[in-house]
Symmetry: C2
Subunit: 433 residues, 2 copies
């Protein structure tokens, strides 16, 4: 049995997880590759920070050129976050004749087409299973196992941090701030959690999935998105009363009018698999025209689940499977990119959950219902609980609507928020049955 | 864009689904293959039965030799059930230099090693995603996406017919016979449903998964199995009262003592994903040492879900991905087959649900509990409901145990069933929390 050399750039959490698999389970990986996989170099700017794996002497280096100039290294695992210098480094790695495995979804969502084109021009491949939904093999499913299907819809929980926070709010009756603090304490949320909780991270991952599923080259910044930082624990309680859980859903829905894309906190009906996804898990529900409904759930982040996906890609690259798929993806996107266009977000229909803070006086329900009615939005249910004697004069009023367009809904909300009896901000969330 | 020729043997439900995908969605498939896929021959003994797809003239034939002797046909989709002549036909197809795609799990469970060895000797491949869990890409996940993991356990619902029947019994309060009749009416169960409902079909699929996950060459006949034909609607009600649903679970569990394998109706705790799988769906929960817990759910049978898996395999075969994986599986099984041995079923531990029909007189609970105690089986809960005035003198008595071995449990049951106050047959099911 011969051997083959690989390198890791970025010796952080996931990088050391990958090193652990290569060093501690080398025999297992060699069985799949047919050769021993030798970890020749690990590049990081920080040579001293303690990690939970000890590298053989001479492997850790801060010198990227040691990788680029080693002709025996055939594949490079690139595991640093951010856009630059990561983009430049990836281009240099490809130019040096090595295949790339990455988990950097921000980089792919931002510069995917450029990097993919460069790799193809150079006869190289980029594998990115770990960029979306961590340990769930959703990239392989979309690009290989479901190749006979037209994917019709994707409904996904793609950010484990947000799902952990929402679960804490629901199960522990915690406020958003308390749940976020708990997520940070447990290492699920970073010190600056903005990209996770404002929906950007989910939108980046959705852009990648939409590219695979629909051939649509979507700019993630153009995906309408709302984060969980606006969700109040009161909405959690009303949702439960109505038979729903609140989840940060990333949605791609192919309809005759185009591709509907959005990321937003959504009321998901209890008893459906997505509603029951708790804690730091990710999940994807998709519908294909042949396969029907499929559901995947697993850990979307963390050292070893992500390393599992990275090493699967590394094995696929070394045995030659990944380059074949990478070439197939090219065919797919070239021929369909122009066909599927995002639908105007204002036209995207759905049911909505609405919560208003209103003055506790007669006629307010009629006033709000009147605005909704004039925008042709019909109401499926209303909740107004009896107020306590000592309550303030502002009370919450909750509506669930039948199907309405995003645009009509936004117009109605803007009119309602200017009513004298309404105290903005009001809350609006999508509903998924 | 060039073209490549393929053939289908077996123009039944799945075969016509595959033909539909190839003929009606040829453009989609060509994008993934890089060539047009031409359906050159469809072989079936029945040339007249109506199907929901019309083949081009000259394609349908009853002459297998037209496939074997056509040097341009590179891959054959073989979709006939049963063992012979299917085994012989597959060997002849391989010998004629063509790759095989099959959904025949019985054939693989029975003759997999022989057929795989023949394919390797001839430099050919056999793809079988559709043989287990229909449209769920579990074979790809196990053999490719999870290659960095040691799989530690599999808990799966692998027979959609059984799951449909159990769901009907639970949700409609139907008897087993009524639910089976409904499954037959809807086409989920065959006229002779024995292999589905007695656990054999699940055991065959479990044998294939265990081969992939643990390198264990298991004879499916040696997997202890109990079917759902023994489940009474009364057990459904007690299970619900205890917070569980009854599912036909196929289990493979790697422990230091060996590989625990069994198929049996099992009480699965409500709120866990497996307990919530309803209707004709399949689901697989697996644990890998790196990836952690993964859960897959989808349609396990049916024309188009199965055809989706078959055509994905066909595409993988035509682009050259499948032969690579097929070769990797060889490495895996050759080197580990001897390491993982099935554990003695009598030693496999678990919690149990027990239901006895007992004479309604004092001291019976103590008598049964005494037998369990002498076998060191401790009781976690007991249900005996007050009997109606007009009840017979035989009443049900339900126990849940703490962890005990299968062997101790069987011995205790055999003693209890001989007690004068007990009216056999008694019911014993495994419990999964």
């Amino acid at each position: 049995m011969g051997s083959v050399k690989v390198a890791i750039i970025g010796f952080g959490t996931v990088g050391s997880g990958v090193a652990r698999l290569l060093l501690e389970h080398g025999e297992r990986i060699a069985r799949h590759v047919g050769r021993r996989v030798e970890l020749a170099h690990v590049v990081d700017v920080d040579l001293t920070r303690p990690r939970n794996i000890t590298l053989p002497p001479g492997v850790l280096t801060s010198d990227l050129d040691r990788v680029l100039n080693d002709p025996e290294v055939v594949a490079v695992v690139q595991l640093v976050g951010g856009i630059e210098p990561e983009r430049t480094i990836m281009l240099r790695v490809l130019e040096s004749g090595k295949d790339v495995i990455t988990a950097n979804k921000a980089l792919l969502a931002e510069h995917g087409p450029e990097l993919f084109d460069a790799a193809r021009r150079l006869g190289r491949s980029i594998a990115f299973e770990a960029a979306v939904a961590g340990g769930i093999p959703i990239i392989a499913a979309m690009s290989e196992s479901l190749a006979a299907n037209q994917i019709e819809s994707i409904h996904a929980i793609l950010n484990g941090t947000s799902n952990f926070i929402l679960t804490q709010m629901e199960e522990e009756n915690a406020s958003y701030a308390e749940a976020l603090a708990e997520a940070q304490r447990r290492g699920y949320a970073e010190a600056n959690p903005t990209m996770d909780v404002d929906g950007s991270d989910s939108a980046q991952k959705l852009a990648i999935l939409a590219h695979l599923a629909f051939g649509a080259r979507v700019n993630w910044r153009e995906i309408p998105r709302t984060g969980i930082d606006t969700v109040d624990v009161a909405d959690m309680r009303y949702a439960r009363e109505l038979g729903y859980a609140i989840k940060l859903l990333a949605v791609a829905n192919l309809v005759p009018e185009g591709l509907e894309l959005h990321v937003s906190p959504t009321l998901v009906r209890r008893g459906t698999p997505l509603a029951e996804v708790r804690g730091a898990y990710n999940a994807i529900r998709l519908v294909g025209d042949a396969v029907g409904r499929l559901f995947f759930q697993g850990l979307g982040a963390g050292q070893m689940p992500t390393a599992s996906a990275v090493v699967a890609d590394l094995i696929g690259t070394l045995v030659g499977r990944t380059p074949i798929t990478f070439n197939m993806l090219k065919l797919w996107s070239d021929q369909t990119a122009a066909r599927v266009m995002p639908r105007d977000p204002a036209q995207v229909p759905g049911r909505f959950y609405l919560r208003f803070n209103v003055a506790d006086r007669p006629g307010v329900i009629a006033e709000i219902a009147g605005v909704l009615g004039r925008k042709s939005i019909s109401i499926s249910s209303v909740i107004q609980h009896e107020t306590a004697e000592d309550a303030t004069d502002v009370v919450p009023l909750v509506f669930m609507t039948h199907t309405a367009s995003e645009g009509a809904m936004a117009e109605a909300m803007s009119i309602i928020d200017r009513l004298p009896s309404v105290r903005p901000p009001s809350v609006r969330m999508r509903v998924r049955d």
